[in-house]
Amino acid sequence: MTTAPEHSPTMARSSVADRLAPYAPLMLVPVLAIAGLIAVQNPASWLTLTVSGLAMGMMIFLMASGLTLVFGLMDVINFGHGAFVSVGAFIGISVLLTLGHLTNAPSLGLNLLAILAAVLAAMAATAVMGWAFERVIVKPVYGNHLSQILVTMGGLIIAEQLIIVLWGPEEIYFTRPEALKGALTFGDAAIEKYRLVTVGVGLAVFTAMRFVLRRTKIGLIVRAGVQNGEMVAALGYRLRLVFIGVFIAGSALAGLGGVMWGLYQEVITAHMGNQAMILIFIVVIIGGLGSVEGCFIGALLVGLLQNYVAFVEPKLALVSNIALMVAILMWRPMGMIPVVKAK
């Protein structure tokens, strides 16, 4: 068999900077933490702030992870995401409230069991809801951002209203399972027990998502599908199914995030999810659309920065997230770890 003529494009060694670039975002977290220590000075406070900041980051990540899939990969601007968070919270918490005997027992095991049950219920519910959402609301508007905003807003409102119909308009206050109340203290530093749980869950979800997206073609199919669905089909993939699947996964994750968030807030309202949306969008954007890693790092940064700033100069806390976003976008207009070229 004949071969083509020799083909040898000139290759110069790429500079050190080029080769380090990919790891820069990872470094930001420790860098920020150290900067925090310098600013905060008092180490006990610093420890408290840092741990709780990281935990807060994890919770934000949990809520945002679903959106990286749906907004990042599938390029669907889903204003309804917040609704899934709320619904997740309501279902989860309702389940929790029925499991009084498990939650009031001062045993960590039983409490976690109860939470697990709540989470599963919430994820199941939001998954189903996600499926319906995709079929009825999102399907007609793939590729059309503005219609997406319109319909998902509609979906959001409907979901919120239904929550009000079913659970009534009052905020629902409750208290966390016994073993998760209060904090562990080291000297003057206090680390809330519940936040440790969220760290665990956050890490678990993060690794799981990474694994799935790296080991399977799903991520590729979705990204390719957004660019050129016809071609993906012509290669032999049932794009619809993949999209539905991913959307459902995203919704279920939102549900999970909702439960964790609700448990943190210890009060749930129909609007709680939507109120978190701006933050969630920010995290997804600075992370780089579609990147789980980026979203994760972004969430941690937001969590930490909020705490440090609020401690050092509360007034600035009002704008810290926004400032962070602007700074990062100026550094990398595509976000920290861009996976999809946002249009």
């Binding site: 009052e170 905020e171 206050y173 904090a183 203290t185 309202t269 609020a310 806390a317």
Partner: protein, 369 residues
């Protein structure tokens, strides 16, 4: 007929308050008219209007009420922002607006005009009541509030009230209105208080979500001997306070606190009709309803000027006992309650127990218009 417009945010985040307020109003009218719904032989008709919590709507709807529906007086709204937008309309149409339950001081303060009466408490009253409840020698008080006009005014009023009794705040913390993570605020407060001797109290004024009590409590302020204090709250919120047994402060209402026939009737009827106890805004709404009826009776007509003269200084009975419209700024002076939280397993919420009732005379509420 006597037409009364109830202009309030039926839908939106305050839906729950709105419902209470309206139920209360209707109960008030019913009670005051002895169930006949008639005053001076005229039927009382209530027209509901939903502001959707939008100030511009509040304005338009009130104009509609005065202009098109030609109501004799209007009552509402829930949110202060809406209320402030509505005030000038009353002046323009020279008709009465009884503000209930919006709380901003400026409604009966800088933005007040003579057509405005308010039956609900203003935020100073909360603050002052709490100040009186909490103050004491060798008590150190820090405050946490939202970083905007409402929060800052509240703390200011609280500060003055404390000062009036020769005490001061050791640390004032303000956090953004949408704060969700209170670790930083908590740390700052702890650092400010941990080395102090004696009783330490953290006084929190917080409207809407965020739930700072639970979050700071999770940081175990007990290790520095810091206790919580705050203004009272609605039943729904009290459910979140079951971990706060012993928390003290001044509150506006809790159905077991007042002891008077009006309240007895309200509690009884409310259980009958909605089989739940009445709450903050039910009581408030009722007070407003009764006030309207009493005023019309006293004035003998619905002529605005007559009503104003009748109402200035008027005293009337409410679920919170006797209230009185102060002539200067038409703010209803009213008793408040110094409470301490008790927890019982079979009650869903933490129960505010009466420490003592703070009568009108105990409460030096500044005139600010």
């Amino acid at each position: 007929d006597i037409k009364i417009a109830h202009v309030y945010g039926k839908t939106g985040p305050f839906e729950a308050y709105a419902k209470q307020s309206h139920d209360g109003l209707m109960l008030g009218l019913e009670y005051a008219t002895g169930g006949t719904m008639e005053v001076n032989g005229e039927k009382v008709v209530v027209i509901e209007k939903d502001t959707q919590l939008k100030p511009e709507n509040g304005k338009a709807l009130l104009e509609e009420a005065y202009g098109d529906d030609e109501v004799d007086l209007a009552i509402g709204p829930v949110s202060s922002g809406v209320a402030l937008a509505m005030l000038p309309v009353a002046e323009e149409y020279e008709k009465l607006l009884i503000v209930e339950p919006a709380v901003a001081d400026s409604i009966t303060g800088s933005n007040w005009n003579r057509y405005i009466f308010r039956t609900s408490r203003n935020s100073s009253q909360d603050a002052v009541a709490s100040a009186i409840a909490l103050a004491g020698d060798n008590v150190h008080i820090a405050t946490l509030a939202q970083d905007y006009a409402f929060g800052r005014d509240g703390i200011a009023a609280f500060r003055e009230a404390l000062a009036a009794q020769g005490h001061e705040i050791v640390h004032e913390e303000f956090a953004p209105t949408d704060t969700t993570d209170f670790t930083a605020a908590g740390e700052r407060i702890f650092n400010a208080m941990k080395d102090l001797e004696g009783e330490k109290k953290l006084f929190i004024i917080w409207a809407g979500g965020g739930n700072p009590w639970a979050k700071i409590n999770a940081m175990d302020p007990g290790r520095f001997g810091i206790e919580f204090a705050g203004v009272g709250n609605i039943l729904a919120a009290l459910k979140g306070f079951k971990d706060f047994a012993g928390m003290e402060g001044g509150t506006y209402y809790y159905y077991e606190l007042p002891d008077n026939p009006v309240n007895d009737w309200l509690v009884k009827t409310h259980f009958e009709r909605f089989d739940s106890p009445p709450d903050f805004f039910t009581a408030g709404g009722m007070a407003a309803g009764i006030a309207a009826v009493e005023a019309i009776r006293k004035a003998g007509s619905t002529d605005t000027e007559a009503l104003i003269t009748a109402m200035e200084g008027m005293e009337w009975e409410t679920p919170k006992g006797t209230m009185q419209f102060r002539a200067e700024d038409h703010q209803a002076l009213q008793p408040m309650y110094h409470f301490k939280l008790r927890v019982e397993d079979d009650v869903e919420w933490a129960i505010p127990e009466l420490v003592r009732e703070l009568s009108i005379d105990d409460l030096p509420i500044p005139v600010r218009n």
